[in-house]
Amino acid sequence: MGRIRVLFCFLLLLFANHLRAGTITVCGSCEVKTIKEGVALAADFDTLLIKKGTYKEFNIQITKPLTIIGENYPVIDGEDQGEIITIVSDNVTIDGLFIINVGTSYTADYAAIRVVQSENFLIQNVVLEKLFFGIYLEKSKNGRVYHNKIIGDAVDEYNSGNGIQLWYSQNIVVERNIVQHVRDGIYLEFSDNITIENNISSDNLRYGLHFMFSNDDIYKDNTFENNGAGVAVMFSKRIKMLGNTFKKNWGTTSFGVLLKEINDAEITGNTFEENTVGISIEGSNRINYSKNNFIKNGWAIKVRGACYSNTFIHNNFMYNSFDLAYNSNLNDNIFDENYWSDYTGYDLDRNGTGDIPYRPVKLFSYIVNRTPETIILLRSLFMDIIDFSEKVSPVFTPDELVDAKPLMKKIK
């Protein structure tokens, strides 16, 4: 419904443009030399065509519905003075600009492009470099952030900003963006009904994607790679994570995904590869995990407690150092019909599932939880022996935590 409304508004916008067809050209040798002038001269629903060149401007306030199109990526250089473009009107389109040198401040969150309390905006094909905050959406609705490239140069968390930030925003599509080297690649706070699709967020200082208090959001087919701490999803309800890739998040507090106080989510078809922890779960209930691939992680899943009624069905667990770590003896979660590469059982009745149950929690993972230095004994014969004895008669690990029907072949 939301998308149709957005589309409708765009059509309306297009229509309005045709009616008026007012175009103002901005270039170094034109009548109108700065973007600010252009914005001041333009009437509602005009198009501002910005020719190639460098424009040293900041604090450009867009107060009326305009379409701003850059030709061959004109450069807007903020010279570290402050915010560059602020949109405070509905129906604004920004297309094809190259914005650099956003001011850094410890008191104000200067952004390259900020949208304040506006609707029906479109920000696309924009390249941002040397930024503090990139695209900052504040109390806005029904917009689209499409195909932008944000390359930061963040070194410390305290004086860097986020690539794409959504704050109290609704019905927004964030699609096909590339975000690198900022603090949080994409950050959502109090934002509902957001779709985040096909983005690549990598090499960021803190999180590739950071969710706080945001409900009913979907993120799918994104790639999150080599971020300081992976992706954090906290205090949110009814989130859908589909087909994402989480890769190479290495480090002591690093993970593919951190789920904290998440309820009723769906996590399907994701790939977690070579992370220290694939998914770290804390206080999350009623989550369905299915058809995910956990490949070569340190820990595929780390359950830290207060997690109830989660189901793990039809996932592939392959070559992880530990498939599952559990810090309590209680279990209320269901593991069923997963493929475990460590499974050593047999299938005599040839029904595709193993005849003896698989226990994903090893005694060694319990020991490592208690004394982390023991990790150095990973894969030693002694450990295999005590793991085996624990497998035969569980004492320390949750007794009923088993996959009763482990699959013999991995799920394609």
């Binding site: 070569k296 992680n297 590469s341 020991i367 230095e373 023991t374 150095i376 004994l377 014969l381």
Partner: protein, 271 residues
């Protein structure tokens, strides 16, 4: 015609060759080679995937290779005792005799291992796969372990005239390093868990060649898990190339010291 000069290295190589061909003739080398060949093919056939086969292979290498090295070393030493005594009566340097025999045995075992495992993996497309580094590391570690445990076995046999005793000690040495050491190591880590232990655990690893080889392979296979531990020393060791170089250097020391002791004791021993 001038007298042919006595050359210690040439003699050593001659003895080495003799031991090597002796093992070939007695077919032990072939048995060992065929065993690894079969193992390689079976592993690849059952797993169908190179990276999983490498993990299974690691378990085999760090347990079986030392065991075979130990038993073979002791057996060979006792079996060729008469021949050794015959050589001792000749004007040949003692170190040439013992080192020649040692390198003959260790070399033949290493060759069987490398060829036995190398052939099936190569046939299964190792060179097209990115597991090649993991695999070559496995073979290097296997070679080191063969050298180390054969040397340890020779040392034990040299110090014990009694065959049964020598055999017992050698197997015990293997059992200690392969299993018991890790048990004690784990216990001490748990008992002293309140103290900072990262230094201790790294040092304890250095003192056991099997643990050392395991660590070396972990660096490749489980780096994501190893980096999960909070500790600057661990991070420096595993996160940089330091771990790799340190481990290889220590393995080298582990090879050199027993070989040196072998030569040293053999020189002074009264036969």
């Amino acid at each position: 015609m001038p007298l042919r000069q006595y050359q210690p290295t040439a003699t050593m190589i001659k003895i080495l060759k003799y031991s090597f061909y002796d093992l070939m003739r007695s077919r032990w080398s072939y048995v060992y080679f065929l065993f690894y060949l079969l193992l390689g093919f079976v592993l690849l056939f059952l797993n169908n995937e190179l990276s999983k086969a490498v993990i299974t292979l690691m378990n085999v290498i760090i347990i079986l290779v030392p065991l075979i090295g130990t038993i073979f070393g002791v057996m060979y030493f006792y079996n060729s005792k008469e021949f050794t005594e015959l050589l001792l009566a000749q004007p040949i340097k003692r170190s040439s005799i013992f080192l020649g025999q040692y390198f003959g045995v260790a070399g033949s075992l290493t060759l069987s291992l490398v060829l036995g495992l190398g052939i099936p993996f190569t046939l299964y497309g190792l060179f097209q796969s990115n597991a090649i580094w993991d695999f070559s590391l496995l073979l290097i570690t296997g070679a080191f372990l063969t050298l180390i445990f054969t040397a340890v076995a020779f040392n034990i046999a040299l110090s014990n005239e009694n065959k049964i005793k020598g055999f017992g000690y050698a197997v015990l040495a293997w059992l200690f390093l392969a299993v018991i050491y890790d048990g004690l190591f784990l216990m001490s880590l748990i008992v002293f868990e309140e103290y900072p232990l990262d230094n201790l655990s790294l040092i304890a690893t250095m003192f056991n060649p099997i643990d050392l080889s395991r660590t070396l392979i972990l660096l490749k296979l489980d780096i994501s898990a190893l980096l999960g531990y909070t500790g600057a020393i661990f991070k420096q060791f595993f996160g940089t190339n330091m771990g790799l170089f340190m481990s290889i250097f220590m393995l080298f020391l582990w090879t050199v010291i027993p070989v040196w002791r072998l030569a040293y004791v053999a020189k002074r021993k009264d036969f």
